[in-house]
Amino acid sequence: MSSTKSKKAFMHERGIAWAAALLLTMFLTFCLLTALLVQILTSAGLHAGAAADKRNLDEQISSIRAYIDLLAEEYGFSAENVKEAVTGDDLKNFNLNAAAWWTKLLTEGEAGSVPRWYSEKVEEAVIAAMNREGNKDDPYTVIAALSDRIDRTVFPLRETLLTTGLDFVNRRMDIPAIIRSVRKLPLLFLALSALAAGIIALAMGREAFRSLKYFGTAFAGAALAVMISGITLMVLRLNDLIAQASKGLANEISMLMRTIWLEGTAAAFLSLAAGMFCLYLYRNRGIRNRIKAGH
């Protein structure tokens, strides 16, 4: 009778431990995924890095210079001085201002003043180039077309729609508070993971080393789940969808995602290593117990 009772108690403990291990796997997976999501949404450094990336700037400059050539052909002026006036530094600063606007929108739910391209050097270069050719067209038409093109290249979003939409939603709900709550999600899932781990430890009682099996399964399981999520995201090819609308925006997003991939992969491998180590310790202890017991 007492052997049946202790066998039932043992199965009961295992049942609770496995259920808690499954929960721990889920909470750890959500913790890792929400941490990556929060970083995409709120990291000013990440967005600034993508905006100021050399490849991104080079592509923007070559696209703008090609447009200047088109304008020069249409309006009959020499493009060289105008192309030189659009410098990499000015473009980089404009990219950083655009990234700062976007980050403020995502972190505070407030749209500040929308960044616009302006360069006195470019204006003077266009006016000088058109006057040199004795061009009768209004240089400010060319300047406006060029500024609009630079705006679209660096900041291809309909910001009026975004700001109007945000104002509309802000009147009905507290967007900054929602954003602050979203930023705390990884901590919440970490706390829930600690709770699940505590339940496993309690279920295992005095033979705490048996918890290692469940911890190891959960850590490694979470790593596998994050990797499968990453592969699913790659299969969805979101960037191709964005590239159909704006190649520049798709390039910036792919630079952002590259950093996130690296961090996500590193976190997943760390979790996998921790899981395998726990399982190794559990197996090692189990073998030593077997040797001690003479089996």
């Binding site: 043992f10 295992r14 291990a21 499954l22 796997t25 889920m26 997976t29 679209r152 291809p156 979003l157 309909r158 729609l161 975004l162 033979e207 048996r210 099996k213 190891g216 399964t217 959960a218 850590f219 490694a220 399981g221 979470a222 790593a223 596998l224 789940a225 499968i228 999520s229 592969i231 699913t232 299969v235 969805l236 979101l238 969808l241 964005i242 159909q244 609308a245 704006s246 925006l249 899981g275 395998m276 399982l279 559990y282 197996r283 202890r285 189990g286 073998i287 117990n289 077997r290 001690k292 017991a293 089996h295």
Partner: protein, 53 residues
């Protein structure tokens, strides 16, 4: 000292995470892929609205 059967683990124990996580994660991924065409249509409308060509 424990002599329970579960405490004499073989090398198969390293496959436990795969057995636990893979079916759940794969089922979730398949569900996402199933609804993806509809979500993709919605996203492309939103992108056309928000992104300047």
């Amino acid at each position: 000292m424990s002599t329970k059967a579960e405490d004499r683990p073989g090398k198969g124990i390293y496959l436990l995470p795969l057995a636990v996580a893979a079916p759940v994660a794969t089922a979730a991924a398949l569900a996402v892929l199933r609804y993806w065409p509809a979500v993709r249509k919605l996203l492309s409308i939103v992108i056309k609205l928000v992104v300047k060509a």
